[in-house]
């Protein structure tokens, strides 16, 4: 276990250097889209509205934090790994090193984890400045970290399966974009028809929004969603390890 974490650090070291070279770029791009969502939906559209008993701005900020954990974690992991694998070919070098598949996957998910945490934290701090309804609880931290890990592993999976840059874009359009708008980030999933809710609860972001919102607003915590999101996280990790181990990439 200790060796796996140490090896994951060696893998992640390259991405840390990448972050060092692109620090401001990464910081700005991590908060740009959540900030726009906050302005457009929180202030523009939702001014004066309440949702499930709280001001809409307080309702939407945890949703945007969940969304940031998805978009920042997924895109930074998937884009960099896709470029390293298909264009730089430097991912092949990693595969030729004496590292376990688990340490490679953990290491490659670090960039997504970091960017997701930075983005979600910044947007949450901003949110706390504009509404007093938000809380920082241990379950909030657990929920955000779990979300970032889950979507980083999903990003690794997308990058490992991608045959080209185009197929990555297709994956984003078909999977990530619908999740962005439908999974209870901007509205309550309970407002949708029952058959559609069944689809939404089969998607990880719905559970991520649900647990982050409940922890942030100090609502009754949906433990089932936490378990389901954890199951998604483990499943994505296992698939990633399988793909690397069997070289089905």
């Amino acid at each position: 276990m200790f060796q796996t974490i140490k090896d994951a650090y060696y893998v992640a070291w390259g991405d840390m250097c990448f972050m060092k070279h692109n620090f401001w770029n990464i910081l700005v791009s991590s908060v740009m889209s959540p900030l726009l969502y906050l302005l457009a939906f929180g202030y523009g559209l939702g001014n004066g509205i309440t949702m499930e008993g709280v001001p809409y701005i307080a309702f939407i900020i945890p949703g945007i934090a969940a969304l940031t954990s998805l978009s920042a974690s997924f895109s930074s992991t998937a884009t960099r790994l896709n470029v390293q694998r298909l264009y730089y070919k430097s991912f092949d070098e990693m595969l030729m090193c004496p590292l376990s598949p688990a340490s490679i996957i953990l290491g490659k998910s670090f960039l997504g984890l970091f960017r997701g945490l930075v983005g979600a934290t910044l947007i949450y701090i901003l949110g706390m400045c504009v509404t007093s309804e938000l809380y920082v609880t241990p379950m909030l931290i657990v929920s955000v970290v779990l979300s970032c890990f889950t979507f980083s592993f999903l990003g690794v999976m997308a990058a490992l399966l991608a045959k080209s840059h185009q197929s990555m874009a297709t994956f984003s359009s078909m999977i990530i974009l619908p999740m962005t708008f439908l999974c209870g980030t901007f509205f309550s999933a309970a407002a949708m028809p029952a058959w559609f809710q069944a689809i939404l609860y089969a998607l990880p972001l719905t559970h991520s929004s649900s647990i982050i919102r409940a922890a942030a607003l100090d609502w009754s915590f949906p433990w089932i969603s936490l378990v389901v999101l954890f199951a998604f996280c483990v499943a994505f990790f296992v698939i990633d390890v399988y793909l690397v181990k069997t070289r089905r990439i």
């Binding site: 060696y10 390259g14 070919k89 092949d92 030729m96």
Partner: protein
């Protein structure tokens, strides 16, 4: 216990560092490697020739564990790469056909990253990078981003990355493609120098003169099978040590003979032919004769 046997001669000889036995690698129904059996001796400079799509790069990818294979066994330094891939990787360094450095990092960061991932002890990493950079003459480029370097320097940086963990065998897949003549010659010197210092070299190339100049032994692969193996001279002798090159029906033709006298007898009966040349057979003649294809073509 590791039992070094030259598989092709079936006798105990020089220690083999790579042993491939009946290896099959298929992409769908098509076999890229079709029952390949060969051995590379420790310390030699081994050349691997074949037409495009013959299976050269796939062979390197299989040995270096980048690609799985369906049948056969591959051993590197006596270690079965399927049973213990991580230990086998410690013995190998690979320079891929395309430059595979991370272009978002500096040269030094690329080297350090390789050293870390190959688990070079922390106190040795900087020293090792400095030694290799001095050896190759890369010192002044270490803190530059990858894309600011020319192809030759990038290739040299890739070599340092591949050598940073002191591998016993270095794979070079078409290392001089895209390099100018000067850079190519510098790289040849470097390859010779590395081999003289004890590193086994496994080299594939489209440039047949490169293989002829550098390699102790040469394997020729076609349609995923090894069709010839030996020193460049042994391979030429297989075809015939003397070649006659002549024009007939607006086409250049070649005939091979075991000695010069036979070649002269043949030339004496050629009527109405011009541009007749008698010369020693070279590796390119051998390659074309054995594969029926031009170098790099099908």
């Amino acid at each position: 216990m590791y039992n070094p046997i030259d598989l092709l001669n079936g006798e105990k000889m020089v220690e083999s560092i790579i042993e491939m036995t009946d290896v099959v690698k298929k992409y769908g129904d098509k076999a890229a490697i079709n029952g390949l059996t060969m051995a590379v001796r420790k310390g030699e400079l081994f050349g691997f020739l074949g037409p495009n799509g013959a299976g050269k790069t796939t062979t390197i990818r299989v040995i270096s564990t980048l690609t799985d294979f369906s049948e056969g066994t591959v051993k590197v330094a006596g270690i079965d790469i399927k049973k213990d891939p991580r230990n086998a990787k410690d013995h190998m360094g690979v320079i891929q056909q395309a430059i595979s450095l991370d272009k978002d990092l500096t040269i030094r960061e690329n080297m350090m990253h390789h050293a870390m991932m190959h688990k070079v002890p922390a106190d040795e990493r900087k020293k090792r990078i400095q030694e290799l950079s001095d050896f190759i003459g890369l010192d002044e480029y270490l803190d530059r981003m990858v894309d600011s370097l020319s192809g030759g320097w990038k290739k040299k940086a890739a070599i340092v990355c591949a050598l940073v963990h002191k591998p016993d065998i270095l794979f070079l897949d078409e290392p001089t493609v895209g390099l100018d003549v000067k850079a190519r010659r510098l790289l040849w010197d470097l390859i010779k120098k590395l081999n003289e210092e004890g590193t086994t070299i496994f080299l594939t190339s489209h440039y047949i003169e490169e293989i002829e100049l550098l390699c102790d032994r040469v394997g020729i692969i076609d349609l995923g099978k090894l069709i010839a193996l030996g020193t460049p001279q042994e391979l030429c002798n297989k075809v015939g040590s003397t070649a006659v090159e002549y024009r007939e029906n607006e086409e250049t033709k070649y005939k091979y003979f075991t000695d010069r006298d036979q070649a002269k007898d043949f030339v004496s009966v050629l009527d109405d032919h011009d541009q007749i040349v008698i010369r020693n057979t070279n590796l390119e003649d051998c390659f074309v004769e054995l594969t029926g294809k031009s170098v790099g073509g099908r």
